[in-house]
Amino acid sequence: MNQGEQKQATAIRRLAEARAGEPGALLPILHAIQDEIGYVPDTAVRIVAETLNLSRAEVHGVVTFYHFFRTKPAGKQTVYLCRAEACQSMGARALEDYARRKLNIDFHETTADGRFSLEPVYCLGNCACSPAVMVDETVYGRVTAQRLDEILK
């Protein structure tokens, strides 16, 4: 284990131990790890399993069940495109095609320069002003191709 990995492992252990006593602690711990490190690295599965006295299979199963947890680093910013019905009714399918072409990546991928990751999302609760896009935690409404260009400048 190199120094960076060592440091990461220490951080994961600290985050896991901080909440280990809470009932149903696994999801809060995984959130805490992703918030701090940006993703849930493989080493986290072993450390969290040890801390919570679970099998690695159980932790791996939870990490991979939920769409929100990522197991690889993301781009600097994550672009969530809503693909659900309300946005579809206002042209989300065309916007989705445009975003993929513009960024030259598919969903769950990161641009070559590491700036953007693209993720599908099924509803941001902004359905009266569709289509909706969220960049990190900022939501945008009535997004056109032109507006997407401005948002991703």
Partner: protein, 514 residues
């Protein structure tokens, strides 16, 4: 010293998604530049979303509305003297007189858009915590009876009587009970839960506290979807405020009751809106649906008796305890009592939140409130009740909003979400998406859902490519039947509904593509 004028600029996610933060900053900056005293308050949204950002100015005690305001409009608003309610191209008159709002019956949403969401003083001044005060003088049985008598039914979509759930938990002896709020509002076309959490978080806290007092639960969890970061932040702050003021914790308001509340962040699985799957998730597991029985009311979170209700159901409890079961029950139609919070979305000119007594015709919502489509084209279909709800045909638009009346035409009120489509929609594509979505979000526990949804996409693709279309249409219906009768929960059991509605009402789209 000149008196300060109060200006409201919403802090709600939708208002912010249309530039409300920039508007608030521009108003503050322009006021400073002109040397006028303005107090900018960030309120929740009134839910008139097509008018957001909706700016309100208090003039002689009346709130005057301007909207939709862009940051670039701010200088001209000052020039026109909007601070005294003067005329301007964006002026809408007194907010309460705007027809869209004036025609509503706001019970659950009584304070939404009016108060500063995080001001406990605002909350109390506008009727907050009166329901809890009454509840603390009642027995658990009396509280449960009030909720049952009000006729309140689960607003999350299943419409199960809330009072019966509570009564079951009350009657289940246990050393620990829980109150869980399902705030995993994943249906497209819905945002009422988000609005409550962002615009009036204390009403949800109060409703959950009343639930805890009623059944003897001392701990509550609000399970909020990760896609709602602002709702999560607002709820967490409000819970801290309520705790500090003695509304949560040991000895709620000087009583013998203890009730603690915690926000848990979901992680992007639609299935966790299903209550047993949500409980699994709260326990730190994969969100796999549980077999029933046992009911969550008997063996719920960590195996203990648990009240699990949607945000809207819990947020409706304070007004019922404040004004009485009869007050609430007197609104509505048939067995659908009280008010429904309709969320009018998609391709609609005037989208927003409409809280109204049950019994209103769908047509009135779409045309009188909504004003038709945003694109100006005819409405071809409306999906009601989320991604598992049927697509309604214009011939069904006279249906009254009522759980039973919607069910009678094969549709669903659900959580009150309406998604409007104009005549450019390809209904076969919508049917395909229903199956695709089910395949993406299936928890995988039961075969009809896990495999059926994948096969559903394939069969629809074959029909569209002209491959044995007649035989495959029969096969698709059989597949839908299997999923409906064989799935463990509503995801696989209802995903076929939108598909069947396309087969039944829009068969002309279910054919080979040119």
């Amino acid at each position: 010293m000149a008196t300060s004028t109060t200006v409201f600029v919403p802090v709600d996610t939708t208002a912010r998604s249309l530039g409300a933060d920039a508007v608030a900053a521009a108003i503050a900056a322009e006021a400073t530049r002109r040397g006028v005293s303005v107090q900018v308050v960030r309120n929740g949204s009134r839910g008139l979303y097509w008018l957001e950002p909706l700016v309100e100015v208090v003039v002689d005690g009346t709130r005057m509305a301007y909207g939709p305001v862009a940051a670039s409009d701010v200088v001209s608003l000052f020039d026109a003297n909007f601070l005294s309610g003067a005329k301007h191209a964006l002026a809408l008159g007194p907010t309460e007189k705007i027809d869209y709002l004036a025609r509503q019956t706001r019970l659950t949403f009584a304070r939404v858009g009016i108060i500063d969401p995080l001001s406990l003083d605002d909350y109390r001044q506008h009727g907050g915590y009166r329901g809890l005060a009454n509840a603390l003088k009642m027995t658990g049985e009396q509280i449960v009876a009030a909720v049952a008598d009000s006729g309140l039914r689960g607003r999350g979509g299943a419409a199960f009587p809330t009072g019966i759930k509570w009564k079951t938990v009350l009657g289940a002896p246990a050393d620990q009970k829980y109150v869980v709020c399902n705030a995993d509002e994943g249906d497209s076309g819905t945002f009422a839960d988000r609005m409550i959490m962002e615009s009036d978080p204390f009403v949800l806290i109060e409703g959950m506290t009343i639930g805890g007092v009623a059944v003897g639960a001392t701990k509550g969890y609000v399970y909020i979807r990760a896609e709602y970061p602002q709702a999560i932040r607002t709820m967490r702050t409000a819970i801290e405020t309520a705790k500090a003021a003695g509304y949560l914790g040991a000895g709620v308001q000087g009583s013998q009751y203890t009730f603690d509340l915690e926000v848990r962040e979901a992680a992007g699985a639609y299935i966790c809106g299903e209550e047993t799957s949500l409980l699994e998730s709260l326990e730190g597991k994969r969100g796999m649906v549980r077999y029933r029985p046992p009911l969550p009311a008997i063996k719920g979170l960590f195996g203990k008796p648990t009240i699990i209700n949607n945000v809207m159901s819990l947020a409706s409890v304070p007004v019922i305890l404040d004004k009485g079961a009869d007050f609430y029950k007197n609104f509505g139609s048939g067995r659908s009592r009280g008010t429904l919070t309709i969320q009018l979305t998609g391709n609609i000119k005037q989208g927003g939140l409409i809280e109204i007594a049950f019994g209103v015709p769908l047509r009135e919502i779409l045309y009188d409130f909504g004003g038709g489509t945003a694109t100006g084209r005819p409405i071809r279909a409306v999906q009601s009740g989320g991604p598992l709800g049927a697509y309604m045909h214009p011939s069904q638009f006279d249906t009254l909003f009522d759980y039973e009346k919607f069910a009678a035409v094969g549709a669903m009120v659900g959580h009150g979400g309406l998604v409007v489509f104009d005549d450019t929609v390809d209904m076969a594509e919508q049917a395909r998406f229903a199956m695709e979505f089910c395949a993406i979000e299936s928890c995988g526990k039961c075969t009809p859902c896990r495999i059926g949804a994948v096969r559903g996409v394939e069969v629809i693709d074959r029909i569209r490519s002209g491959e044995n279309a007649t035989a495959n249409l029969v096969l698709l219906r059989e597949l839908c039947d299997t999923m409906i009768s064989g799935s463990l929960c509503a995801l696989g059991g209802m995903a076929p509904f939108p598909v069947m509605s396309v087969l039944n009402h829009f068969p002309e789209d279910m054919r080979a593509r040119a």
